[in-house]
Subunit: 345 residues, 2 copies
Amino acid sequence: MSKPTTIHDIARMANVSSATVSRVLSNSSYPVSQGLKEKIQRIAKESNYVPNMLGKQLKTNISTTIGVVIPSIVNPFYASVVFGVEEVARYNNYTVIACSSLQDAALEDEYIRMIMEKQVKGLIISSITTDKSQLKSLMKLGVSVIAIDQKVEEEGIVQIEFDYRKGGYLATRHLLANGHSRIGYVTSRMDRPSRKSICQGYMDAMSEADLPTMIVESSADDPSNALSEFDAGKRLTDELLSSESRPTAIFACNDMMAFGVINELSLREIHVPQDMSVMGFDGIEMGQMIHPPLTTIKQPDYEMGRMACKMLFDMMKGEDNPLFNVTLQPKLIERKSVRHIGQEQ
Amino acid sequence: MSKPTTIHDIARMANVSSATVSRVLSNSSYPVSQGLKEKIQRIAKESNYVPNMLGKQLKTNISTTIGVVIPSIVNPFYASVVFGVEEVARYNNYTVIACSSLQDAALEDEYIRMIMEKQVKGLIISSITTDKSQLKSLMKLGVSVIAIDQKVEEEGIVQIEFDYRKGGYLATRHLLANGHSRIGYVTSRMDRPSRKSICQGYMDAMSEADLPTMIVESSADDPSNALSEFDAGKRLTDELLSSESRPTAIFACNDMMAFGVINELSLREIHVPQDMSVMGFDGIEMGQMIHPPLTTIKQPDYEMGRMACKMLFDMMKGEDNPLFNVTLQPKLIERKSVRHIGQEQ
DNA sequence: TTGTAGGCGTTATCAC
DNA sequence: GTGATAACGCCTACAA
């Protein structure tokens, strides 16, 4: 464990000043004679010089790290988002700090604090807190913030939203168009705006068609457990089936839950889509791997991550061209879990 | 975007020296009178003081960041590992930099370089490179390294291995015990030691039983695409079924691929497990969500992440108590995709 | 108990 | 072109 080489060590070895070494090794545009330049580069290489970003950053106040706060990395949707972020970050020689907030406001705040302390200048967040004072102080310190997925009503924060309501509407319309009129909606706890919006879309479509809604909502919600949504889907299906007017189609608020719905149905020998149609929401890859392949609403995850990171870099460059919020549009992916039915079953 | 408060600002406001401020704000054990302590804390709070870790770290040479290098965060297995790491990191007030190497040696090296530059003192890595010189120079700089999942034969690197061979052996034995003798093995490209070992376990069990092996290997492999293993599973199944001696059971080198196998079989009206048994490897949660639930070998992912991070902290504390390598043992999870068959079918 | 001063590794502002 | 030197924010001997 040898002590790392610094520019001063190199300066001594090359009989130059550390200023000159710095100029060469930091690719400064400052002129240095070709001879010295090559000599310094050679010595740096020979002595395994590794620049110390701490010194550099302390001096320049430029960070090469961005933070990403999401509910949980074990959720495949957010894993894809992070993957997209990481890709464009790496392309720009940035590194990403991944933070799973577990939908816990205290944890979210703690992560934001750590990010501030580390002098990170850019943050992409799917925020869960209602109190945004932490985010505000972040911005006062000059940190660029992009909110994805969950809306944050705060001046100066750029939003990449997704039209959840329209997604819910589209899904329901698709079911309607396939002849269904008794359509149940199963959802996890509606404590987040996104979930309320999907439900709103469902209700709007049903009300337009003059049809009654059937909504069952889960109480529990454990983001650190990939199975919790699945299990909720099973439980809620059970609940829905025992209602007097059994639906012909079930719409779930996310794909994981839809898997649970299908699983529970299959245990009861209710075949999808012959006996019951099922509609998901998210469009994670896994939807293609189950049987039957899940008809769902695609919410671009990877693309959302990439876009968020690109916009973040634009924002950090701060060319004062105001960035606009964007709303990503839902897309229906038709696979095999929805069947057209004729008259009332 | 106001300039952040420093300990000097606070010192001036409190009419004390910055040394005193440092002592109270860094929770030093150094004695400071109660009055001053409270005054300084009050002023720090009022002026929204945020400590600058850069300055602190530059001085103390202690990092509060660890790096995690894995093939890809979109692989649910590694997402779980990272989740485990993050959990114990956060508990210790550390932050984690997530790096998806995409099984690309150049990318892995690049990430390691970035980690060195950022003066990170701990790294957990599932390494893919054959040339470990980068890792060696890391260690020379005093970075603690824990290798997970993929073995790294290098002095000073602590290993958390998994007994892949035994896992492959166990799986095959289970199939054998259920009366199967024509057992096919489908695998992605065997370029990693782990994959060779699983295959070795399969071959050992077959040879013990005096049975011939049937191995089909995929050539392609795109870690950034969650579907690539699934598709490979489908293709390889196709290949296997067209062989003269059709197997009664198929063992896949990972769960994703097993999903592909089951999917392809179901498209051909070959029912699992009635007509064909299928065995997976990994034990990701998703295995419980498909139909039939996948019988598989559990490789502890989340636990591996937690253990790796705990050992990393022990190592960084460097109490010179030499750490031992550990090998996690495989466990059979019996679900519904394997059927007992009587005589030759 | 408090203050002074130097330095961690780097860049930037001056001089030369 | 090149070299001193002063920061950046923090900690820590050492002195008082």
